[in-house]
């Protein structure tokens, strides 16, 4: 795993204003973890910042029928989510 400066945990749909703020706050070296409704972002055509690694919670991706869209996203389970939070220097839960 690459070191993570700030891990951004986002659980809101792309329409949500806090989701927009989160996307704006990403910096090189940060990582983005999509959970709950936020996994819908992988179905949109929104451009992802190539400097940020994007993870998505597998259970939430499956629940929304999005397994086919997840090619550029790293699917993680809860143990891997714990690893991300343990390893990140800072965490923001949006």
């Amino acid at each position: 795993m690459k070191p993570i400066a700030t891990l951004h945990i986002l659980n809101k749909a792309p329409e949500h204003s806090r989701s927009v703020e989160c996307m704006r706050s990403l910096r090189a070296g940060d990582a983005l973890l999509l959970t709950e409704s936020a996994v819908l972002a992988i179905a949109t055509t929104d451009v992802h910042d190539p400097n940020t690694t994007v993870y998505a919670l597998k259970a939430d991706v499956l629940a929304r029928g999005l397994d086919d869209c997840a090619s550029e996203t790293h699917l993680v389970d809860f143990p891997a989510m714990v690893d991300l939070t343990a390893q990140a220097q800072n965490i923001i839960s949006w």
Binding site: N11, K12, A13, P14, E15, E36, S37, L40, A43, T44, T45, K58, A59, D60, L62, A63, R64, G65, L66, D67, D68, C69
Partner: protein, 116 residues
């Protein structure tokens, strides 16, 4: 009175869509005219193969597929929201009509309701 129930909230992350469906099915059970409009992130209720075991919630897919049987008159999905979320005829539940202009639709019903 003809009712349009609007679902604009995403599936599973909130209960609003579920409770909107209950409203629609209740109207239908009492033989009242009711249709459903999915807009915004709400169109994601309509995607095929929702596998919800991992989040311990019941999939809503079967209920939606049964909506016509329960007497729901029509299900509409807003075109621009479908485009945004990559929803096409192939990956969407059957029986959904695409609404090019949801504003037109809103003005055709005497009663419009969101669940929350």
């Amino acid at each position: 009175m003809s009712t349009l129930i609007v679902i604009d909230q995403p599936p599973y992350g909130t209960w609003a869509g579920r409770e909107a469906l209950d409203m629609a099915f209740s109207l239908a059970a009492f033989d009242q005219s009711v249709s459903l409009l999915f807009t915004g992130a709400g169109v994601n209720w309509l995607r095929k193969s929702q596998k919800t075991d991992g989040i311990e919630q019941k999939s809503i897919e079967k209920n939606l597929s049964a909506a016509p049987i329960f007497g729901v008159k029509a299900m509409f999905a807003e075109a621009s929201a479908c485009a945004r979320y990559g929803l096409t005829i192939e990956n969407m539940l059957a029986g959904v009509a695409i609404a090019e202009n949801s504003s037109n639709l809103l003005h055709q019903y005497s009663h419009t309701a969101f669940s929350g």
